[in-house]
């Protein structure tokens, strides 16, 4: 297949879709803004309305705009007007909203978010002036919310696969690696290792090689990997093929947790469409390069997101980490050289190749180029998935994008980078979103999750929940983590009950140090982080709880029921009978 033919074909379809003669309704349908709020019924109602009234309507299911709080969001492009956006749409109010506009040209003020286009309509606010949109800078998510996640032609019409075409036809593989190196792109999964350098480790080995894309994403508070796959899986696939070409790989796996149907189904659909159009398989775009991608599912296991555990899981075994060395670039999945990248890291690649590394470097900070995709949740007015330029302060993210803390409460803690990340205090608002700045402040940017916690929560209570998570999810392979996490949870729980003693703090420190030194993977090595960072800012809370005076009372109010194993019969079955 020839790229130019694909492109002109797609452009033609896009022009028909956007010329305004038939209303084009786009409905945001990711997990947060769509399916958890009834998007399927909304779509059914629109289809029914269109059939009953004999009105032709084009409907596309698109991805996330980032402003999850306003879900479900629809917009209509019609009659030469700009796109008109409404939020808080549900199966009940959708028909009135679109009917008034399509039939009578009346723009309902209820739930109106704004309009977006070259010429705005008088009396309708500018959609891009919404704080949740205005302060975003979208690179990886540039298509999200704008194109259908299940139509490859819409993706191609918006410059999709032009980065791949450029790489395959005008760049050697080491030029692609150098371009990514030069862009300063660092891994968005947690460790922030330079992506181009990682690729170069594998470039010289021969034979079967793998690109593994990690979308395990078990971090509570992070949903951006799943968000990308639900909103625009083609961007990820294009990035993976480019990574495959750069490293001389033959196969790719997209690794997703079983049960997350949205990301799974949409990625599989996108892969199929890519095969059908000669963008995957043998001789991609006539370049002679061949590459295959499939989806691999894992069971419920947080540690499966660790790189060597992930390889064990792809091989179909229990997801327990391997010892290193040998490193994945030499001995990866099935013993073959493998490179593991996070979904977000790979989603920048196509844009970097298309626009050049200097373009990418011009965004962000010296040490962290580009953007960060942060997930705001917790006690925040406008939770959402926002792509922001690196270098923006945590305060701006909380206040401008998140709309501050609701209910007249005060900010107390920020929990960033997943449960193993760290806790920051309210004095951290000046800290910039940047890998090194965040690390200096005692937390990590990690996968971009930021849980905002107000002054109703005791630091011990939050820590208990984080430690309980880490204990529950320890894979059990190495004892410093298996026993250490359990011991830490016992102590934190004791403190939370009001029965702790001051010596417990030094004991926890000792356990934490041993875990750091003796654990096989990051889960155990970083397992003490939630406690140490909480102690740094909120030792007072711990001491108060020890004397039975929880500063907020939340330790007493929220009694977590720690889950026990759900498999009572597993060990009663006689093996082999």
């Amino acid at each position: 297949m020839n790229y130019e033919i694909l492109k002109s074909d797609s452009d033609k379809r896009w022009a028909e879709l956007t010329n305004g003669s038939i209303p084009w309704i786009r409905i945001s349908d990711a997990m947060c803004c769509g399916s958890s709020l009834g998007s399927d019924e909304i779509i059914d109602n629109i289809i029914k309305y269109s059939a009953e009234n004999k009105i032709e309507i084009n409907i596309s299911r698109v991805g996330c705009h980032g402003i999850c709080y306003a879900g479900t969001i629809i917009d209509v492009l019609f009659n030469g007007n700009p796109r008109i956006f409404w939020g808080y749409i549900n199966p009940e109010n959708v028909i009135e909203t679109i009917n008034s506009y399509i039939q009578n040209g009346e723009i309902l003020k209820d739930n109106l978010l704004g309009s977006y286009g070259d010429e705005l309509i008088k009396g309708v606010p500018d959609f891009t002036e919404l704080p949740g949109i205005k302060y975003q800078k979208r690179i990886a998510l540039k298509n999200s919310g704008n194109i259908a996640f299940d139509d490859i032609f819409q993706y191609i019409a918006n410059d999709g696969f032009s980065g791949l075409n450029k790489a395959l036809h005008s760049m050697k593989s080491d030029e692609v690696i150098n371009e990514v190196k030069n862009s300063g792109l660092r891994g968005r999964g947690g460790a922030a290792f330079p992506t181009g350098v990682k690729w170069s480790f594998m470039a010289n080995s021969k034979g079967k090689k793998y690109i593994l894309c990690n979308c395990e994403e078990g971090d509570p508070g992070a949903f951006n990997d799943k968000g990308i796959l639900e909103s625009d899986p083609f961007t990820l696939i294009e990035g993976m093929i480019i990574a495959g070409y750069a490293t001389g790989s033959t196969n790719g796996f997209v690794f997703i947790r079983h049960g997350h149907e949205g990301p799974i189904v949409r990625t599989e659909q996108a892969i199929k469409q890519a095969y059908n159009n000669g963008l995957l398989g043998e001789n991609i775009l006539g370049s002679g390069f061949s590459f295959d991608i499939e989806v691999s599912l894992t069971g419920d296991s947080y540690v499966a997101g660790e790189e060597t555990a992930l390889m064990e899981s792809i091989e179909g075994k229990s997801s327990k980490p391997r010892s290193r060395p040998p490193f994945p670039a030499a001995y990866g999945v099935w013993g073959k050289p493998s490179t593991i990248n996070n979904v977000k890291s790979l989603s920048y690649v196509a844009e970097i190749i298309r626009n050049g590394s200097d373009w990418f470097k011009s965004t962000g900070t010296e040490s962290s180029s580009g953007t960060a995709i942060v997930c705001l949740s917790g006690n925040i007015a406008n939770p959402g998935m926002y792509e922001v330029e690196m270098g923006i302060s945590l305060g701006d993210v909380i206040e401008k994008l998140g709309g501050g803390i609701p209910d007249g409460r005060k900010l107390k803690m920020l929990q960033t980078g997943g449960p193993l990340g760290g806790v920051l205090g309210s004095d951290s608002l000046k800290v910039k979103i940047d890998f090194d700045e965040m690390a200096k402040a005692g937390a990590i940017l990690g996968s971009g999750g930021i849980i905002v916690v107000d002054d109703r929560t005791c630091a011990v209570d939050l820590t208990k929940s984080l430690v309980a998570f880490c204990q529950y999810e320890s894979c059990g392979k190495c004892f410093p983590c298996r026993l250490g996490m359990t011991h830490l949870l016992e102590i934190v729980e004791k403190i939370s009950r009001g029965e702790g003693q001051i010596e417990d703090l030094s004991l926890m420190n000792k356990i934490g140090k041993n875990m750091q030194a003796g654990s096989l993977c990051g889960h155990g090595q970083l397992g003490y982080n939630p406690i140490s960072s909480a102690l740094k800012h909120f030792q007072n809370d711990f001491e108060k709880c020890m004397s039975g005076n929880c500063p907020t009372g939340s330790c007493q109010e929220r009694k977590i029921v720690f889950p026990i194993n759900t498999r009572p019969n597993a060990w009663q079955v006689k093996v082999g009978t």
Partner: protein
């Protein structure tokens, strides 16, 4: 006890599995997706199919927390207890469910109708606290709404 699902039935499922790369894990996921749990004999069938020992397959099946070894209830209720849902009040939801379903921890109700599970993250944190019923998410949950949902399960 006679197995309801014969070896041939299970072999047929895993031979026709959707996954291109066939492993112990992909075969077990396929069986559970089809039947709802892993019947006793499925472990042996997967072992034969993959040419590995029964022990190996047990190892995988008992490691991942999503596998069950007895039929699930008609309703799968999951409550997220991850940190975001925790500060949103997930523990109250846990206690509500335990009280209404007469359970002491996650597990199946006595009549076998409801399987209750505590999940570490259901993945839609902006809508916290979250629960799901038969994999359909319900966000911004509170005790009142959740009680109503639980009352309707029968």
């Amino acid at each position: 006890m006679l197995e309801k699902y014969t070896d041939d039935y299970i072999l047929n499922i895993i031979e026709n599995q959707h996954y291109k790369t066939r492993t112990m894990l992909s075969s077990l996921l396929t069986v559970q997706d089809d039947i709802g749990y892993l019947p006793k004999n499925s472990i042996n069938v997967v072992a034969d199919f993959m040419n590995v020992s029964t022990n190996d397959v047990w190892g995988v099946a008992s490691f991942y927390l999503n596998f069950r070894f007895d039929p699930p209830g008609k309703y799968n209720v999951e409550i997220c207890w991850g940190p975001t849902c925790h500060i949103g009040g997930a523990s109250e939801l846990q206690h509500t469910a335990l009280e209404k379903l007469n359970l002491v921890n996650q597990g199946d109700t006595e009549d076998g109708k409801v399987s209750l599970k505590f999940n570490t993250c259901l993945g839609a944190c902006p809508q916290a606290p979250l629960i799901s019923v038969n994999h359909k998410l319900h966000g911004k949950m509170d005790v009142k709404k959740f009680s109503k949902i639980l009352d309707k399960l029968n």
